[in-house]
Amino acid sequence: MIQVEVAYALPEKQLIVPLSVKKGTTMYDAVVQSGIADKFAGLDVDAVPMGVFGKAERKPKERVLEEGERVELYRPLIADPKEVRKKRAAKKAAGEE
C-alpha cells in the first residue's frame, strides 16, 4: 500500500483527501476511491482534467501513482490569457504615454 492524496479546490472550499491505495493504482482509480466527487456537486471525475503536483496528465487512467503523490483535479480558467495580456499591454502603453 502507498499513501497518496486527492485534492480539489474551489475558491470557498478546498479539500485534500489522504488515501492509502494498492501499488499500481492509477490516478483515475485513486480519484474514484477517494470519493471526492460526492463532496462537490457537479464534479465529474470522467471529464475533469487532472494532474500531479501542478503537472497535468493526459491519460489519468494509465498514469500509475507513486508514494506521496498528490492527484489534483483542475478547473478551467475564467479569463482568456491572451485577452488579459492584451489588456495589460494596452494599460502599460497608456501609462507610459
Binding site: Q14, I16, Y74, I78, A79, V84, R88
Partner: protein
C-alpha cells in the same frame, strides 16, 4: 645488562598500550561516526517548516544549520517570539526580539487569495509556494488551499497579472480559538511547575 632489559620491557609495554588504545579510538571513530551535526535536527524541529525564506536562507533546514554555527536566533518571522524563546532555551542564548529587517509577524493570520477572473494559469505562483498550497496546472485555474497557506506572501510577487491578494483570515466559528495564555508554560520547552500535595 639487567638495567637495559628493564628499559626495553617498559618501552614495549608502553608501546603496546599506546597501540591498543589507538586502535580502540580508531575503531570508535568509525563505528560511532555521527552524520551531520545532531543539534541541527533539534533546531530544525523547532522551526515552523514553512520554508518561507524570510530569514535569508532558502528554507528552514539551512537556517537551522546556520544557527548551529552561531547565527542570530531572531530571524524567523513566521515562528515569532515563541520560536525565538524555544531556540534561546535550546542553544543556551539570551532572548532577543525579532529582527524587524526580516519582516514583522502579522497580528492577524493572512491567507493568499487568487482573483479567479484574472488568473491566466501561468503556474508561477505554484512554483513559488513552499507549502504546495496552490492547486493548479498550466492553463488551468489556480486555487489557494486556505488550510495549507501560511500567509508568507511569496506567491504575490511572481504573479505576472497581480491577481493574488493577501487577506486576513476571517474569524468564523471554525477558525476562532482561545489565545494562548500569557505567562509561564505558554512557550514550548518551558515546564509548568507542578507541586504534589500529599
Amino acid at each position: 645488562m639487567e638495567f637495559l632489559f628493564d628499559n626495553i620491557t617498559a618501552l614495549g609495554a608502553l608501546t603496546a598500550i599506546a597501540l591498543g588504545f589507538g586502535a580502540l579510538l580508531g575503531f570508535a571513530a568509525v563505528k560511532f561516526k555521527v552524520d551531520g551535526n545532531p543539534i541541527v535536527e533539534q533546531i530544525d524541529a523547532l522551526l515552523p517548516q514553512t520554508q518561507c525564506g524570510q530569514c535569508g536562507h532558502p528554507g528552514c533546514r539551512p537556517y537551522a544549520e546556520g544557527l548551529a554555527e552561531g547565527e542570530e536566533i531572531n530571524k524567523c518571522v513566521p515562528g515569532g517570539e515563541d520560536t525565538i524563546r524555544a531556540l534561546a532555551d535550546l542553544l543556551g542564548r539570551e532572548f532577543v526580539p525579532l529582527d524587524e529587517e526580516h519582516g514583522q509577524t502579522p497580528e492577524t493570520k493572512m491567507v493568499a487569495v487568487i482573483r479567479e477572473a484574472e488568473c491566466i494559469g501561468c503556474t508561477k505562483c505554484i512554483q513559488a509556494c513552499p507549502m504546495d498550497a496552490i492547486l493548479g496546472a498550466a492553463k488551468q485555474m489556480h486555487t489557494v488551499i486556505a488550510d495549507e497557506c501560511t500567509g508568507c506572501d511569496l506567491c504575490v510577487e511572481p504573479c505576472p497579472v497581480d491577481c493574488i491578494d493577501m487577506l486576513p483570515v476571517p474569524e468564523t466559528l471554525q477558525t476562532w480559538h482561545w489565545d494562548a495564555p500569557k505567562g509561564i508554560g505558554n512557550r514550548p520547552g518551558e515546564l509548568i511547575p507542578v507541586r504534589n500535595i500529599a
